[in-house]
């Protein structure tokens, strides 16, 4: 038997602020053609009463959202086994389920649950991997469920799951002439939203540091923009030195030691690198055009950014050491606010064509470009840490919503808010 796996719960012990949480709801709009059928049997609970969360339902929703799977409806299941010895494989073959996930939950003490789960191959009539046990805090069953989803996803696709990750986003709510801006963090499925910053002035450009413990964002104060960093667990917030003009687009370096930022203190928007330890500010670009929207390459050697130095805005790369600049995007009327997949293979941009703004994917190996979205006024793409999905902001029925598209363009879903506008999504890194 495998040793118990303890989840890091520190990250989730953040503010319990209960102000105007705008829950995100998932609407799947299209999926891949070939779906793998599997059954998630309701998890058995060995304690008293019922669990606060339906673990199997959370796993089912996670896996369906990935676009790889279809799940067997619960009402069709002939039995609800939670131990391998109680599984009759022919029943599941009849239901055309290729795989079955079974599991159970018991109380370990007053504060914790133990979740046991196992993935079974119906045709081979055996476990895909040995039974796994994890311990979760009783307030944190959803984290446990997402953990199971991650394991099942990885066993069946070979790709690391990103269900146990989080998203940052900005909501705008209330009187349009005097709205309230909130920076919120929620699970990747939109559940458990928490407000981590609130203001009557604009908040934008939130992003994570590389281990997901801190954030950086832009918030206006007294009608001027400022760059802030904030620890997720403690809520401790710091403002960088504020300069006249633009203070924007902060991006944490992969080593966590620096921020790429945009300042216009020397005349027009330029990229700077701010060293968080030495407090030294270094100017990177030097051009009379707009240079903005920096994003670090995964190895930290280069920064990609938006510049209109060639006339229309396009994506360029600057080498952090020798400052050599090269243009990266050539298709479309413009390309802006780029992000790179964690493996460095693809570039995701907001591409403008004939007045329409869509999310585009460019293969860095062969330069091939694919338009991933057909929604309206698409912006702010952010890539899941496993490189499988892109979350972005769009306008649906006149309202700002978040949407997700797979990097192959086949799977799409929306995360509209139950209230107000949602924008500026930022997908977290892996937390462990």
């Amino acid at each position: 038997m495998k040793p118990y796996r303890f989840l890091s719960l520190l990250l989730l012990a953040i503010l319990t602020a209960n102000i105007a949480k705008a829950q995100l709801v998932i609407e799947i709009t299209s999926g891949a053609d070939q779906l793998l059928p599997l059954a998630i049997v309701p998890f058995n609970y060995g304690g008293e009463g019922a669990l606060s969360e339906d673990i199997a339902k959370i796993i089912e929703d996670d896996l369906k959202r990935s676009g790889f799977f279809e799940t067997i409806p619960r009402e069709n299941m002939l039995s609800l086994p939670y131990r391998k010895e109680d599984v009759f494989f022919r029943d599941w073959r009849l239901l055309k389920s290729d795989y079955v996930v079974i599991g159970s939950v018991i109380d370990t003490d007053a504060n914790n649950y133990e979740i046991t789960f196992e993935l079974l191959n119906v045709l081979a009539e055996k476990s895909v991997e040995k039974q796994t046990k994890i311990i979760v805090n009783k307030n944190d069953l959803r984290t446990g469920a997402h953990y199971v989803s991650d394991q099942v996803y990885q066993l069946l696709t070979g790709i690391r799951g990103a269900f146990n990750t989080r998203i940052l986003y900005v909501t705008v709510d209330g009187d349009p002439q005097n709205p309230t801006y909130q920076l919120q963090v929620a699970d990747a499925d939109g559940h458990r939203p928490q407000v981590i910053a609130q203001s009557k002035e604009p908040i934008l450009s939130p992003s994570w540091n590389s281990d997901g413990t801190s954030l950086t964002y832009v918030m206006f104060r007294n009608r001027r923009p400022g760059i802030f960093t904030q620890e997720l667990a403690t809520g401790k917030r710091q403002q960088l030195a504020q300069y006249p003009g633009l203070n924007g687009a902060p991006a944490w370096s992969p080593d966590g030691k620096k921020l790429a930022i945009v300042l216009s203190k020397d005349g027009n928007p330029e990229l700077y690198v701010f060293d968080l330890e030495t407090k030294k500010l270094t100017r990177l670009t030097n051009h009379y055009s707009i240079d903005t929207e920096p994003a670090w390459e995964p190895d930290g050697k280069g920064i990609i950014f938006t510049s209109d130095r060639g006339g229309n805005p396009q994506i360029y790369r600057i080498d952090v050491n020798d400052r050599v600049v090269e243009r990266i995007t050539f298709e479309g009327d413009s390309n802006t606010r780029a992000r790179i997949t964690p493996d460095g293979r693809y570039l995701v941009t907001v591409q403008k064509n004939a007045g329409n703004y869509h999310i585009a994917l460019q293969d860095m190996n062969n330069g091939r470009v694919q338009i991933l979205t057909q929604t309206y006024l698409d912006e702010s793409p952010s890539i899941a840490p496993n490189g499988s999905m892109v979350i972005y902001a769009t306008t649906h029925k006149g309202k700002g919503v978040l949407a997700v598209v797979s990097v192959d363009g086949l799977v799409k879903y929306r995360l509209p808010s139950t209230a107000g506008e949602v924008r500026e999504p930022a997908w977290s890194p892996f937390f462990n």
Binding site: G245, I290, T292, G355, E379, E424
Partner: protein
Amino acid sequence: MSVNKLGKFAVIGLSAAFIVGCGSTASDTDSSTVTETEVESSTDSSSGADNGGNLSSVVVEESNNTDSTATKAMLDGVDHIFYFDFDKSTVRPESREALATHAKYLVANPSATVVLEGHADERGTREYNMALGERRAKAISRYLTIQGVAAAQIETVSFGEEKPANTAHTDTAWQENRRVEVRYE
């Protein structure tokens, strides 16, 4: 002599340079906005012509100007919001008269300071629009400094697309949102 006359020529020269520079990048969307603009400027141009003479009355050398007209009251009824074409930061001709009045006030009151708040419409990405809003605020700033306003009296700030005047997703709303607001602190 009036420094302003020189300034006026410089402004026209600058504007022309901008128009030429931007024309080559105009897209389909741009041209529809331009049409809209032309309608607006033709209605405004009549008042512009009437007050055109005010420009030459701005005399920079008299910094201790105690002219009773150079009080804040002279800004009553004068536009404080100036509009721009899509993806452009060129000061429109119909903005010049009101801006000249702001310049006159600031020149006459060297201790007065002004914040130029630039805005963009919602199309395009947010940080790029921050830069675009700033470019617009700086265009207004240049217009004022050319007319003798000290740079130290002017601060430019951009709100990008974050504070739309009109939250609709229409051409009309976008036009109302591409603006610089002149705010005295």
